[in-house]
Point group: C5
Chain length 303, copies 5
């Protein structure tokens, strides 16, 4: 069955405060594709996974690599942690919009009850001229209560400055692994709704993956659903409601597969893409070419 393209939420319909609307307008219509779609370059893997993610493309170890790529590839913005933002952005100030990631952790300790501590504040973001802040929410973690509290404080600060919040809505921890796993439709669908309920302006999610073995342990009715990727995207976008949706690329894919994945996301109502390793783990020129292909594709989704 052919699915019709889903209309995504438009800025003017979102009852946003002047400050949030100003910043989101810049991201949506003044930088990057500038047609109401988004295309972010995240570089928080150095903290989340360590330098091992840079081995496939050694120059990527220097954040200036990603900044050049963001500028020449005309991205909507770059995502940095505070230390990198403070040390590397100055030269690109005003040229590449900044999304300051506020929390993060290393992959070293076990992941049964994850929480991502705040290593920067909304005030840091304001001071650095950022247009949005990023927050990783580990939906369903046994430490969820602490995470929700921490997010509330970030949300209150963001509301004080009318700074948009992008929520990395990641189902994680032993409890979700016992109910179908982090990539299940149940998990991603729930995470999208949670971000909407807690006050995300934008939510970053992954495309759910079917895994017949694990899906059976998800709650009803998810344990019996077998949606196609396109259907799954539509479901989770709908659950995100009036939070704009970004889909991530996850681990390295072939170029064609990536564009194909991106189209499914955009057709399903996403506002944009946030591709990290899939882009910057390639040599600069190749990464630039890919960025341009994504741009080209996004032209079909202007609004």
């Amino acid at each position: 069955m052919a699915l019709t393209r889903v209309k995504r939420p438009m800025l003017a319909d979102l009852d946003l405060s002047t400050g949030k609307r100003t910043r989101l307008h810049r991201l949506l219509y003044k930088y990057g594709p500038a047609n109401g779609t988004l295309m972010f370059l995240p570089i928080d893997q150095g903290l989340e996974h360590g330098p091992r993610d840079f081995f496939p493309n050694p120059p990527s170890k220097d954040p200036d690599f990603q900044l050049r790529l963001a500028k020449e590839g005309n991205f909507s913005g770059i995502v940095f942690q505070i230390g990198i933002a403070k040390k590397y952005m100055n030269k690109y100030a005003g040229t590449v919009p900044l999304v300051l990631k506020l929390n993060g952790k290393t992959e070293i300790p076990p992941d049964k009850a994850p929480i991502s501590p705040c290593i920067a504040t909304v005030e840091d973001a304001v001071r650095l001229g950022a247009d949005a802040v990023g927050y990783t929410l580990y939906v369903g973690s046994p430490l969820q209560a602490d995470d929700f509290e921490q997010f509330r404080k970030v949300r209150e600060d963001a509301d004080r400055f009318d700074m948009p919040i992008i929520v990395w809505a990641y189902p994680r921890g032993e409890a979700i692994e016992a109910k179908g796993g982090r990539d299940s439709l149940y998990a991603v669908d729930y995470a999208a709704r949670v971000a909407n309920e807690l006050g995300a302006d934008i939510v970053k999610i992954n495309v759910p993956k079917s895994n017949p073995d694990k899906d059976a342990s998800a709650p009803k009715p998810y344990n019996t659903l077998q949606p196609s990727p396109a259907e799954a995207v539509r479901m989770v976008v709908e659950s995100a409601g009036r939070a704009l949706v970004l889909f991530s690329g996850g681990e390295m894919l072939g170029e064609g597969d990536l564009i194909q994945k991106a189209r499914i996301a955009m057709d399903g109502g996403a506002t944009g893409l946030i591709f990290g390793r899939n882009v910057w783990q390639r040599p600069f020129d190749e990464a630039l070419t890919l960025s341009r292909e994504i741009h080209e594709m996004l032209k079909d989704y202007g609004a």
Copy 2:
């Protein structure tokens, strides 16, 4: 034995501050039935249970569905979490009163020692023009000390702005399961009193359920009591004292059963009803019809 109807507390008798009385007067006499009874539409299940609660009636996934229902069905107010309130209420501002739920959690982690973290503040509620705030208190949870502290801070903030507090008084956690269970008369009766002791203006409770197997493990004299539903309602309403009582509908019931359950509650001294899934899991027109039947029934209880 026929039971006489119980007189519920009247606003004028409650020694309320001007701010609380103003807001409660609006909810009781200016919106909804407007005859001193209450009829709320809660929509916090998207956070508490995830999108799975929307499958029986897919349009209900969009909070605008419930807002339209609250408006056309003439409810006393709608209950939202902060993210939904900020993104969806604007169009209905002043038309549908808002109860801002201040805390919430997902169902993913285990429930042995629950606590519901605050994801919004009383100031958020004031800013949004809400007429009350909602707080879920897990009475008897092993984390009860943290919960009581958290509630105290909410109560202090509410007192600062004279904002009424509705307490979802839910017995939960492994300790109450070992003493008769969350739905036992012991549990609900205790929860109602706790809400009154801690400073609730309104308390939302469920109708206790007899369960001979589990009731035996409740403390004396509860382990030997076998009240009818009507008697049980009277007991717990009495324990709530001068906190106005709302009864919830719980899981989906037939229409007749629901009205019957509501009458037992109102006859027993409840001030109103808070029916969520029982209403919005039906198609819009059916839900509207049911809402009108509830209205019709509530006319018998004006005061």
Copy 3:
């Protein structure tokens, strides 16, 4: 051996601040027996034990019952939690002095490492016109460090407003159970001293009970002591030092036994009594009669 009556501390000898002396003077000489003795009516059992304590005398479920009793029985004051104080005191304002209990908990979770969280503040007490605040300290609990910290904050607030503090000094938790138990002389004697050391103005304790089986596990020299009740009272009163002592009644006793127990307490240097269930679990008239007998008895102790 006949014991001589112990002289209790007099207000004028206690080097009190003006604010504390004013409030304690009111409690000691303007309300209740008004002869320098105290007679409080506590009603925090609805929170601590739940509504089951009201079954022996159903009208006692309504806090107005205790308020009427406090007024007609001419008590020195009534002890309420914040929710009850705010909803029921207004009509009796100025007639019945209020002791606002600041912390409390339910009996539902296990009691191995108890702590009683604060559900009200000294500012609440000031705002309500209370003459003292109450605090339950679980001496010897594994959570004692948190409890002491919490108490310090309450004590600092109380000092800021010169509000007297009554400490419910209760030995509790698995550690004291392993050293003779909560009612042992070791436990109560230690608790009385702790209250004095931490800054109580008044301390509420129980009369220690001999229990040969358990006493042996108390530290030296307590493991070998066998004091009479009168001797035990004298010891713990001495340990309380310049903190005025209130003895509680504990569970329901016969009338004669209660008066007898009260005399032993007063002879031993107590300043007063705090009888709850022993009074309000009786029908109103019976309770009133008992209150008058206590008054009559206390006339022997004016000073």
Copy 4:
């Protein structure tokens, strides 16, 4: 081998702020021996051990006993917890200097991971006219991180008012018991250094004790050292650096032994002594006589 007497740090050489120097000058040269040595009377055992420490000398249960002793025995100061200080000092104000102990605990809960919570503040000490504050630091406790944080806050407050801090540097908890025990040279030597590193002005330590069985489990080279008491004193005094050292008496000793122990301490570079039970567990006159003998002995150490 005869050891030469160790020169202790002199006030003028310590680069102290005016406030600290003023207060320490009073303690060293205006009260007690008044020759640059110190002789404190601590009475915090009522909290730390309970009333059982008063059984050998019943009058000692009343803090006025120790105050009289401190005054007539001409001590440099008395050490009290807040409750006792507030209730008993007034009459001796200006006559007996006060060291306000800021933290404390009971002996009831297990001691594997001890921390001593703050029950008073530096502001309390200032308000009471104290000349120093006392803090018990459980060096090496599994809760050491919390303890160090708590101490830092006390130290910051003390710096704000330039109030001297006396650190009771006590190695405690299961970790030190596994490495030679609390009284080992390793433990005491380390504790003395820690107090100096963290910012103590004065440190109270015990004389290390050899225990061949346990010493073997201390880290190198301590596991092979067998210093005499005099040598051990010199080592730990050196580790305390520019923190003045007080040695405690520990449990009850014979008079001669005590004076002997004190001489070893003073010869080894201590600034003074802090003898509690060894003094006040004796009848008043005997205690006074002993105090005078200590005075006599301290005359040899004026500077």
Copy 5:
């Protein structure tokens, strides 16, 4: 393969605030080698390991020993904890720059989930005229979330005063031990990046050590890498990015080995050295001679 010398980051290229640049300029060009390299003398081992580190050279127990050495040996600065800084620096004020270490702990409790609590503040550092603060970050510790939060607060304070932060980036705890160990390339490389991401101005790391047995348990591709020390240094310096790198000496080495190790570090892009025990565990004159040899060597690296 001969490796070319790596160019290290220059102060002028780091987009530093005026305050940070002023302080780092002093450390790099006005004290010590004064040619853009750094040579620090740390003395925090008295807290971290206890006095046992002073046994090889007893005079080193007195912090004045290290201060004289820092002055006569012309070090760029000395690293002290607050207690030592406050008691010993005054005489050397302005002569020897101070790096105030803000956190620390003892070695007594187990090291499975380490965190180093703050015992001083950035304000303390400002008040003492320090030119930088030091912070030990236990990368990968199970308590990493608390550590990151604590570091964020320090970083915010440092930003408020534009005080440079030196991060002791130490992989520690049971999780890293299970993934190759604290000295593995994976661990040190990750730690260097983390310091850069979190906002270190300078990072202190150790030279990674190969350990074939343990390296196999490191994540890919580290489990198969066998870099020479010089290659390993280059990798971790690159991961530290724009954070200047200091290499430590670790445990006592021969003089020649130490200079050799230092050259590898400087050739690999380090900005300087931080040698503690390797220097001050030698007799004063020997230590001074070694310091001069290091100076001599650093002359080759001026810039």
